[in-house]
């Protein structure tokens, strides 16, 4: 695996749009497929919003983002120091149900799952949330 880009910064809800623009540009600049980059950014935006809005409750908080390449796969790792939250533990909606019968909540997490090929959560040894978003075939 090769790390292509990383950043450490304090983030607030107002920073999310700037950050996603920066990351999309960074992915394309290192040769990432624009369509794959767009999907990754849709998913990552929801992860960032979860972190700043629910994790940090809108207050400034530390965030680290890393962009990796593993063969043809694009991997983005997001770290924050908010209270532990595992979005992958939220049950996926049963999309075979009629809309009126679907369970409440989780639209952003549904988008994260849909727009990535893999989504992993872990807690680091120092207690940070580590969310890994993977998009296959993102590099030619």
């Amino acid at each position: 695996m090769e790390q292509l880009h990383h950043l450490d910064q304090t983030i607030t809800p107002d920073d999310v749009d700037t950050l996603r623009h920066q990351l999309e540009a960074a992915i394309v600049a290192v040769g990432g497929d624009p369509e794959a980059a767009a999907d990754m950014i849709l998913a990552l935006n929801e992860a960032l919003v979860n972190s700043v809005r629910h994790g940090y409750q809108g207050q400034p908080g530390w965030l680290r983002l890393e962009i990796w390449r593993d063969g043809r796969s694009l991997i983005v790792k997001q770290y924050d120091a908010a209270p532990p939250f595992d979005p992958t533990a939220v049950p996926p909606p049963d999309t075979t149900l009629p809309l009126a019968l679907r369970p409440l909540g989780g639209m952003g997490i549904h988008m994260m799952r849909h727009f990535t090929d893999d989504l992993h959560y872990a807690q680091t040894t120092n207690g940070y949330n580590e969310l890994t978003l993977v998009k296959h075939n993102a590099f030619t």
């Binding site: 919003v49 999309t95 809309l99 009126a100 549904h110």
Partner: protein
Amino acid sequence: MKIIVEQLESEKPIAIVQIQGELDGKTYQTLIQQVQQLHDFGTRYLVLDLSEMTFMSSAGLVGLHTVVMVMRGQQPPDMDSGWNVMREISHQVNNVSGFDPNCKLLQPQPRVQKTLDITGFSQILEIFTDRETAVNSF
């Protein structure tokens, strides 16, 4: 984000609202306020022109849902409604067509179309590729 409003001179009170740029957590309230103003001044049918909208997050979807509720004269939901958005809309769609009778979507870009599809919005809000057909659908 920029919003361009065009009110049509027709028998029905129809407006076309073009959203330019990104509909997300930072901008969706602006859309809601604009549509609320239109409703206050009598607009009851809305075409949302998405041809210049380049990005839509889950907050943007809540914005779309809220617009639908506002056009019905109903209380908008809160940001955390999630799938409840779909429950509320789908309870009140036109029983014949399955689509909302007051709001139509026009020409979403592929990235936005994907989001509408995977969240089920495109099953509830009818999507048109040309403006005249969208307007004549009311």
